[in-house]
Symmetry: C2
Subunit: 512 residues, 2 copies
């Protein structure tokens, strides 16, 4: 085992600590050329840190030429010697069967998204999802839209289309966006396969390996996954859930400024409205400060607006894009939370030059987004079905959010807290320090209750005592029952823990 | 202007020549630290080479640390000095308006795909497309499938799905693939957004910047675009169109072996059936030799099978995947050529470990492929509509191919040649040496005839005297008329050229 010791309380990022300690071991001669160092997964396990932390440290050391990965063999300490090409004919030690594992370009590809979409056993009450409630999909209306567009424009829909998007959908979206206070030209709008693709395109278009992105911590795991596999460093900026501490909830703007001051930040990625996982919304003053910083440091901002249309209470706030006078903001959005995630249709808007570049990148990525779904959604909007469906869903989600808050207030034990979401699909719960939500989940699953441990959402410094509760796809009755059961379990585990601590202190006394 | 001189006749790749000459200019002191060198687009124009050539040379020099790009300022010669971080607060010289251009991660993003899909003026006869004929789309049958699946499984379709693909479509495809002689497990099949995405996923999963791919030359521009923007080097392997020369048409297997011997090749990308743009099909002996080479050099093969189901004459050949006993081949395919390109649905099959890695990469790229189109195509197959539609389209394309060949044989002037395609959607025409198809196109467009100059398809050594004719989306009458007009123009231009050459030789005599 390597003599490494990371300090989680330090203000120095963990990956920087790890990088510097590994470098020191090489300089001291403790590690020498040819020595194998552990795989990132393995070392992450040993150190109890997120794999991205190790991967980031390794990426930096690799770019310094200090370590090198050999496909299929591992990662090794190396000098700066130039690699010469050796004649290739290789004998096949395994009867000629291809070993694809030896070809993987990257070990930073992770099952992170599958992990946050676990299988739900039948009968379980799952607070895991942040997705719309499928029982309420207006299938008949949607089917009518499909028939109309295939009858009217079927040949055009089924033929190859243009990368920027299907014309009728772009027109409907421009009109929707005008309602948000955004007066945009068609060239400022690109249709995507959804926000996940939008982040991937942004990453391809504007970020190179080694670049740094300021990202909320915790954050959407799909964003963390993209940045990690593109070898982009994520600079974690805390998300405040307790308004008493910094004066506002949401992205900690003071911490963001420190990050901008101390690093060459290439991009800020932020979800100002109903941030996943915490459910927080950034107040307007903080939005303005964020944009001021973006202009001062000339850093573009990617605004993830996927939950913004799901405001369930309080008054609407202008989006960053609506407040953006300097053209710093690219806003990404999608139908996944307000309509149908099974259709992969989203969009992004921004400065024309940014959108044009994203269009070119999308062209070589997958030509264009599926046109049948684009046409169907255009018709769904044109007929007013989307507005009606969204209004109905907000009513349902509002009632479910109220049911969840009522149950939490009634049953949650002392020294726990949770966010007061004004919209979106999730709440964020903080358990007493020292509690591990992943351990709690083991017992909860036995009782048929599921939630997501908070650690899945952190790119750095995971807080094991946090967890996410999704309220949108569970009905009120099951919410009431599920939260009561969850709280009973939590109280039981808290008592068990206190008893354990008391016994431990008794034991210590006995030993002394 | 830099004193650079590339020799197109040399066996040394152009980008290698360029790299070495630039390096020599630095070593000789003609170029010094801080000197700005032209943008790749500019230098490509000056040298009359493809931009990828310059981009590849620059990529190598950059990885050597000899040049460096500064966003928004250009590319500069540099020493190996370590860049220190300078404190960031930057003043905004342009009133705070974001300059997105200064943030582009790459200048190797090109309009390559739009170029091969030009706008067609009304009334023109366009031989540009390699796409199905939309007049013959069976809209009523497709609409019935949509209604059936939305009624039967609408909630499941519209809810978020799994990355590997929609179950019923996977089952239909496994059965289709059994008909090709492939007995596969479900874990060996991944649904994609089409072949363009499949190539992008393959690139992300298995290739790193600086890796080399052996690629047909000419090749599908969408593949060239992906590799270029991922900073993957393409090693051009000729495609034989004259069976008299190497004994077979298609990828030159001898040249491939030379490339494998002389380079560390990470992957072979090949379209054995009805290669785009040449229309050639690789004979079975050459397929076997290709697979032997892949095993000997332990290089994986990506088989683009997108046109394989469009065999219009002659007997079917087994695919590389069907001949692959070592698990070296990942086959990519799609509905785009046999059904509807406006639906972005394709698939790839291969060894389980390769497919599993591609699935993980797809998950963070766009979660999953649109489920409405997946479900509709599953139903379209289940009802036998796809088989029926494909049989009908093949009959139509067979007749169009015959019409095109008849017109070419009747009207084409001497010293031209074209490929005898046994399937697919395109023929490849070679004009006399010295002719430039791009110039010919200017005159052809004036007469209402469009085709694609061959140079769009080359990653290296473009042959300006080649062009692609697509026959699938033009009816027989217009083919006859269009080819006759095209040949008339060609004869006219050839006479003009001969006259010019005669006059020039007269002029020379007069001068002497």
């Amino acid at each position: 085992m390597l003599p490494l010791r990371l300090q989680t309380e330090s203000h120095i990022p963990l990956y920087v600590q790890l990088r510097d300690q590994l470098r020191a071991l090489v300089h001291s001669g403790d590690l020498r050329t040819g020595d194998r160092i552990p795989a990132s997964r393995e070392l992450a396990g040993q150190l109890g840190v997120h794999r991205t932390t190790v991967a980031n440290a390794y990426a930096e050391l690799e770019s310094e030429g200090l370590i090198q990965g050999h496909v299929g063999r591992g990662t090794f300490i190396c000098g700066a010697q130039i690699k010469e090409f050796s004649p290739p004919p290789r004998t096949t030690g395994n009867g000629g069967v291809m070993r694809w594992e030896s070809l993987f370009a990257d070990d930073r590809v992770d099952e992170v998204l599958s992990r946050v979409m676990p299988l739900v056993p039948p009968g379980a009450i799952a607070f895991t999802a942040a997705r719309p409630s499928e029982e309420l999909f207006p299938l008949e209306e949607f089917r009518r839209c499909l028939n109309a567009v295939v009858r009217r424009e079927g040949r055009r829909i089924l033929q190859i289309g243009s990368t920027d998007g299907y014309g009728p959908l772009k027109e409907e979206l421009l009109s929707l966006l005008r309602g948000d206070g955004l007066n945009l030209r068609s060239q400022q709008l690109l249709i995507t396969d959804g926000c996940q693709q939008a982040i991937d395109l942004v990453c391809k278009a504007f970020l190179r390996p080694g670049d740094s992105v300021a990202l909320e911590n915790p954050a959407y795991p799909g964003a963390i996954a993209i940045f990690a596999s593109a070898r982009v460093r994520t600079l974690a900026v805390g998300v405040e859930t307790d308004p008493a501490r910094t004066g506002h909830v949401g992205l900690d703007i003071g911490a963001l400024e420190t990050v901008l001051l101390q690093n060459r930040v290439k991009m800020i990625f932020v979800t100002p409205d109903f941030h996943n996982p915490t459910g927080t919304a950034l107040p307007i003053a903080a939005r303005r400060r964020l944009l001021e910083l973006a202009v001062r440091y000339q850093v573009p901002v990617i605004e993830d607006a996927i939950y913004a249309r799901l405001r369930l209470r309080g008054s609407a706030l202008p989006s960053l894009k609506a407040l953006d006078t300097a053209g710093n903001v690219v806003q990404i959005d999608s139908f996944s939370k307000i309509a149908f995630p099974g259709l992969r249709v989203g969009w992004c808007v921004g400065a024309e030059s940014a959108i044009e570049r994203l269009r070119l990148v999308k062209q070589s990525t997958n030509l264009h987004t599926d046109q049948l779904s684009q046409a169907a959604m255009a018709e769904f909007m044109r007929r007013g079905y989307l507005a009606r469906h969204l209004a109905r869903m907000k009513k349902v989600y509002r009632s479910r959010l109220a049911a969840m808050e009522e149950a939490l207030e009634k049953h949650m034990p002392e020294s726990t807290s949770w966010t007061r979401a004004e919209g979106g699909m999730t709440l964020w719960v903080t358990l007493p320090p020292g509690f591990d939500a992943a351990e709690l989940l083991i017992h909860a699953r036995e009782r048929g209750i599921l939630f997501l441990p908070g650690r899945y959402f952190y790119s750095q410094h995971p807080q094991p005592n946090t967890l996410r509760l999704g309220f949108a796809s569970v009905d009120e009755k099951r919410i009431a029952k599920g939260i009561e059961m969850f709280c009973d379990l939590l109280k039981f585990e808290m008592r068990k823990r206190q008893r354990g601590m008391r016994e431990e202190s008794h034991a210590r006394v006995a030993l002394v």
